[in-house]
Symmetry: C2
Subunit: 201 residues, 2 copies
DNA sequence: TTCATTCAGAGAACGTGTTCACTTAATAAA
DNA sequence: TTTATTAAGTGAACACGTTCTCTGAATGAA
């Protein structure tokens, strides 16, 4: 009731926005990015072409909006399910595998997400980066815990080590999309594990 | 003299191709990728629009051709100048800095190169990857040498460790283009050094 | 030499993402 | 209630990358 009179206009607008995003996501999930046309999104939502540009400045920002949504869910899920009382290495692999699982099970969509990383507007870059920062923080915590138990060399800097491990993760992820087109998350996890073993040793 | 008569046609064709690449490179070096138009390249070279498509299947392949050229030079230069009789760590940083130097001194062009990594035709991906493989091989050799001198833990696998270090390198490079827009190669080298210290420790 | 064939060169035409001027319905002011 | 203002909604128009058909010159066969 405290809402500012729930303007008819605003309600209508946010409904339209949701409809556009729903249509866009459906198309991105089945078609390559360049095969998805704005006219196609408009037609699927029975919306005018120009209307879409009243809600999104360009095609890419629709992708970014969807990516941001999915990232939020992924991080929430991954961080909530970190297994306690396990070695740091298996914790890290566990978390990474949840990410890999998403990416491999939504292959075409994920390829669009990741391949356009360099093209998102700064606003979206910052948002994505905020996720990564929080994630790095969490990993650093787990590392410090593992240093207390003696699993990891206490001489290492937990925060920088976290970044080094994340670089291994991104490397495996990027390679799988760029070269191998691997669709099995276990295979990716294994590959990541051999990399981080070298880093943690 | 064994050449097949040096067809007038073939000579003319390769000259045209070179002219196109020269025009394209000049534009890519000063303008963002999407600000470079095929019509602009054609105009600069006083060439017909359709002619360009007789030499390159699409806009991206002109960029890929230029990238491949530059990569060849960079790798040749970097591998030829590896300083002997230094610690592995400083060797690796030295090589990396040469790459960083190229990328930062041709910032706009390099951004185009790297941001389109996911979009190159398989043919070009394979070529780029071949460079990386040879590079990884070389790094692994240096690591084995460092293991002999006791600088690096002999328990580590030289080839996998090489990949782990390259992942650190790519991480620093990607971050600099994605977030920081750093244009000082020394700063990038320092950042890389802190990362690989954790990995080598 | 003469003529048929090939293929580099060229630009019109097409579908795309994006911009823009316009319409129309919701809100605010009278 | 009546009128003015705002802003969502719309599709024609534009510039782009790319495709296509056409032209003309180089090549090879006669």
């Amino acid at each position: 009731m405290e809402q500012p009179k729930a303007n008819r206009r605003e309600v209508q607008k946010s409904e339209t926005r949701a409809l556009i995003l729903k249509s866009a996501r459906k198309l991105f999930e089945t078609l390559d990015y360049d095969k998805v046309t704005i006219r196609g999104v408009a037609a699927l939502g029975r919306i005018g072409l120009g209307t879409i540009y009243k809600h999104f400045p360009n095609k890419l920002s629709m992708l970014a909006a969807a990516f941001s949504d999915d990232l939020k869910n992924m991080y929430q899920d991954a961080l909530a399910t970190v297994p306690d009382n396990q070695s740091f290495q298996s914790q890290f692999v566990h978390i990474s595998k949840r990410f890999f699982s998403f990416y491999t099970s939504h292959y075409s969509l994920s390829r669009a997400y990741l391949s356009h990383l360099f093209f998102y507007e700064q606003e979206w870059i910052d948002e994505i980066n905020a996720f990564d920062d929080r994630y790095a923080q969490k990993i650093a915590e787990l590392i410090r815990a593992a240093q207390d138990t003696g699993e990891i060399n206490p001489a290492k800097d937990s925060h920088i080590l976290a970044l080094a491990l994340m670089s291994n993760y991104f490397f495996v992820l990027a390679n799988s999309f760029l070269l191998d087109k691997i669709t099995d998350p276990d295979q990716l996890a294994t590959r990541l594990e051999t990399l981080i073993e070298q880093t943690l040793l």
